[in-house]
Amino acid sequence: MRVSLNLADRLGRLSIAGISCLVLVFLALPLVVVVAISFTQTAYLKFPPQGFTWHWYWKVVSDPTFVEAFVVSSQLAAAATATALLLGMPAALVFARRNFRGARALSAVFLSPLVLPTIVLGVAILQYASALGFARSFWALYVGHVVLVTPYVIRTSIASLSGMDPALEEAAQDLGATRVQTFFLITLPQIKPGVIAGALFAFINSWINVEVSIFNSTAQFVTIPVKLFNYIQFNIDPTLAAVSALTIYIAILVVVAIDLAVGIEKAAVNTTTNARS
């Protein structure tokens, strides 16, 4: 016979809810604070912010070095994501559909940039690019970022491919479709949401990276996070808050896009945890 909930049990339930709410506040607080302070009318950081002004945003968009950094970051993230799709989807197709000797080890190598120290990847690319003569250039950043973000595409694509009914592909092939036709007409439409989510994860993780970029950019040629990193060493002011707030708005847009594509819960659990099942 089930024991009914007594006072202690109810308190237990309540305290889990209470702790969870505090933790959620803890998660939101730094981002909320940055957004709030980006509207302050004071010339220095003050909390709570005073008044309301768009001044710091205008300062950012009229500063060519910030605009340039936004452009560099966007081009880099777009190029890295496109390449990650071209490399990651074929690899995922193989890992999801064929088992061969060494497949596990190979997929571990492709996924390892997720857990290896990013700063070491940055250093390794710097030395390698110096030896080959393309250090501190767009191409050095590009190859580093492709390595960094391809695992996200591979992981989400494998998850989508494993969740799909293989009979659909077999039926297409039995009816005479070539493998290329089968992939583009049957497989790709089925896994499209997962691929979009993977591409968005790849894009945002290139967009926010500091460790690989900082070793491979110059004072003039920088991405937004590196620009912020250099800026924060000397100035802590509302301009910094405005740029940071802009990147937070972009993060929110990407989260919403992922939610619309596959649902944020599924994407978050599939892509950011390492449990392999």
Partner: protein
């Protein structure tokens, strides 16, 4: 789709070529550099320098200590949240909102998140102005630029990783087992300790190892929130390339960091294997 060996080779050609050229080769070069002598020979001198110097050791121990506390904080805060999400949130919409709150920080640059903590913990920051406003203190406290600030900053960054890892395992816990314990008369707390928690341990261990590994190699947060007062291995590596210009020492330190991380990943995989065998 049935893939022939030829299909497989064609599909893997691009990814393998790219990763060999721009991932394996750079790491091989870095490892080579760590053994390089200025005149071109091989030497262990860089490792001897790194592993016998008290300064480097202190930095490494400091890194491990910080990572330990980050893991503890992430567990203490992340587990209840994961439990709450999986068992207590009744509405799909609320759960969705919570996941948005978990993922948005993950999609924000470390530098922006560190800046958020500067605004909160700084001398004119939120905590100090609130404490002064209610009259608890008269002069602002030094909350930033300490080990505690680094632990808070890193725990903040890695909390979603721990929470999602625990969530992914709690979701798979067979609820009829918990129901059975309750039907047999166990109080919720006892059912939790005897059934739910042991079943969720794989998620806790996996999440802890990943959180620990990512803390050990974190650069941005320690660099911003230490104010130069705390030294960790990733900051040391950075300095070898930007201040002291000793890429050979930097390479040796990088390899040490890599080995520490690989040992942790090894432990993680070993644990997963064992868990699989137990499950079978």
């Amino acid at each position: 789709m049935r893939l022939t060996p030829v299909n497989t080779a064609v599909l893997l050609l691009g990814p393998i070529a790219f990763f060999v050229l721009f991932f394996v080769a750079p790491f091989a070069l870095l490892i080579g550099e760590s053994f390089a002598r200025p005149d071109g020979g091989m030497t262990l001198a860089n490792y001897v320098a790194v592993l016998t110097d008290g300064y480097y050791w202190k930095a490494l121990l400091n890194t491990l200590l910080i990572s330990f506390w980050v893991t503890v904080v992430c567990f203490v805060l992340g587990y209840p949240l994961a439990y709450f999400i999986v068992f207590h949130v009744p509405s799909a919409w609320v759960r969705r909102g919570i996941y948005v709150l978990l993922v948005t920080p993950l999609f924000t640059s470390n530098i922006v998140r560190a800046f958020g903590w500067i605004v909160i913990l700084g001398r004119r920051g939120m905590v100090n102005s609130s404490l002064i406003a209610i009259g608890l203190i008269e002069a602002p406290l030094d909350l930033l630029y300490s080990k505690t600030a680094i632990v808070i900053g890193l725990a903040y960054i890695l909390l979603p990783v721990m929470t999602l890892s625990v969530c992914s395992v709690l979701q798979t816990v067979d609820r009829s087992l918990i129901e059975a314990a309750r039907d047999l008369g166990a109080r919720p707390s006892r059912a939790f300790l005897a059934v739910t928690f042991p079943l969720s341990l794989p998620g806790v261990v996996a999440g802890s190892i990943i959180v620990f590994a990512l803390s050990v190699s974190a650069y941005v947060i320690p660099s911003i929130l230490s104010g130069g007062r705390e030294m960790v291995t990733p900051i040391l590596i950075f300095q070898q390339y930007t201040a002291t210009f000793r890429p050979d020492i930097g390479a040796a330190l990088s390899v040490v960091l890599l080995v520490v991380t690989l040992l942790l990943i090894g432990a993680y995989l070993f644990f997963l294997e064992r868990r699989l065998r137990v499950a079978v």
